[in-house]
């Protein structure tokens, strides 16, 4: 339900970045979302596409890296992905691990059309 708010927040981030790159066109935005962030990637994509429909951003791609939680073993310090809530260390088989991430909701990258103004835009002040 709140994916609409998340989608518009992603678009705000894109808009902010594009103000630094006048004359450029954004092609795709990449985000990292933890499985524990409570966000459904499909609903997010739906909301995102609905918001950019008939705007100058129509066609902008959304690349979601949907990541499982990460844990760190308290015995051997190894870090590993957690699947199906199984906190079993693949290194030493200990079950004594702590979660270190899983609810992230972050920007990763932006792909922009590569031509002269873009490269210049990177250096130009706000």
């Amino acid at each position: 339900m709140h994916e609409m708010g998340i989608a518009s927040s992603i678009l705000e981030g894109v808009a902010t970045e594009m103000r630094r790159r006048p004359g450029c066109r954004p092609l795709k935005v990449g985000v990292r979302i933890g499985e524990m962030a409570g966000i459904d990637p499909e609903s997010l994509r739906f909301a995102f596409d609905a918001l950019i429909l008939d705007t100058e951003l129509q066609g902008l791609g959304l690349d979601v890296e949907y990541r499982p939680p990460r844990a760190r073993c308290r015995e051997c310090a190894r870090e590993f992905d957690v699947h199906n809530f199984e906190l079993l260390c693949p290194g030493c088989a200990s079950q004594n691990a702590e979660c270190i991430s899983g609810d992230e909701l972050e920007f990763a990258y932006l792909e922009v059309e590569d031509h002269e103004p873009c490269a210049a835009g990177r250096k130009s002040p706000e």
Binding site: M1, H2, G5, I6, S9, I10, E12, G13, E17, L27, V29, G30, V31, E35, M36, A37, G38, I39, P69, F85, L87, C99, G102, D103, L105, E106, F107, A108, Y109, L110, E111, V112, E113, D114, C118, A119, R122
Partner: protein
């Protein structure tokens, strides 16, 4: 084509306001709790029983969020503590701006505890930081023991699970050990109390948890002040 790294959180604006709020709460030593559950799990009832048990000298305030109506605030105002309703007008969660706006008339220096009852919803509120010191989740025994696995996000982020309406256990097929196992699969360190607001069973455990957690917040605050100063 040109790929440029983008940094920062997606809910940047909310994260910024929440960080400001958290800093203010720390400065004024206000312990803030964010209570989340599906609609009707018993958030307001638990708060009623809680406020009822406290003397007027307790320096507590409550913010209660709903999509519509002032009903919950009206229920909670009876106990004589400051209470404000936040009606979101359709939004399925509270965000940090709403908190900032609704506490603006309160003198934080005169508070020790701020309890926020979030909008009834097991999904959306978990994404919005309100500047709280701790999130807790309520699950009533009529909702099914599989909820921690179906809605892992909020169980992942909550320090305490309050299993509510335990007086109904004789009438519903709810497997308490399975609920506990499921909650701890998602969040191994989760603390769990079982409460019936009807009989009062478990209220003492809940109030003890609250007191301890608030104490831990103040201790941590004192340590960080000592380190800086």
């Amino acid at each position: 084509m040109n790929r440029v790294p983008l940094e920062g959180k997606v809910l940047n604006e909310n994260a910024r306001v929440a960080a400001e709020l958290r800093e203010r709460f720390r400065q004024h030593q206000v312990f803030v709790l964010n209570i989340i559950s599906s609609p009707g799990s018993g958030k307001t009832t638990l708060l009623e029983r809680t406020l009822e048990s406290w003397p007027q000298t307790q320096r507590v305030a409550v913010l209660t969020g709903d999509i519509q109506t002032e009903n919950d605030a009206d229920r909670l105002k009876r106990y004589g503590f400051p209470v404000k309703q936040i009606t979101t007008g359709g939004t399925c969660h509270l965000d940090a701006r709403m908190i900032e706006k609704h506490i603006s008339e309160w003198d934080l220096e005169r508070l020790d505890l701020l309890i926020i009852e979030n909008v009834g919803n097991l999904v959306c509120p978990s994404s919005y930081d309100l500047g709280e010191a701790a999130k807790i989740v309520l699950l009533s025994v009529t909702e099914g023991e599989d909820k921690p696995l179906k809605y892992p996000s909020i169980f992942f982020k909550s320090e305490l699970l309050v299993l509510t309406k335990t007086d109904l256990l004789p009438y519903v097929p709810f497997d308490v050990p399975a609920a506990v196992t499921n909650a701890r699969r998602v969040h191994p360190a989760m603390e769990i109390v079982r409460v019936s607001c009807l009989t009062g069973n478990g209220m003492r455990e809940w109030l003890t948890w609250l007191e301890h957690r608030k104490g831990a917040f103040l201790t941590e605050l004192a340590q960080s002040v000592a380190e800086v100063g």
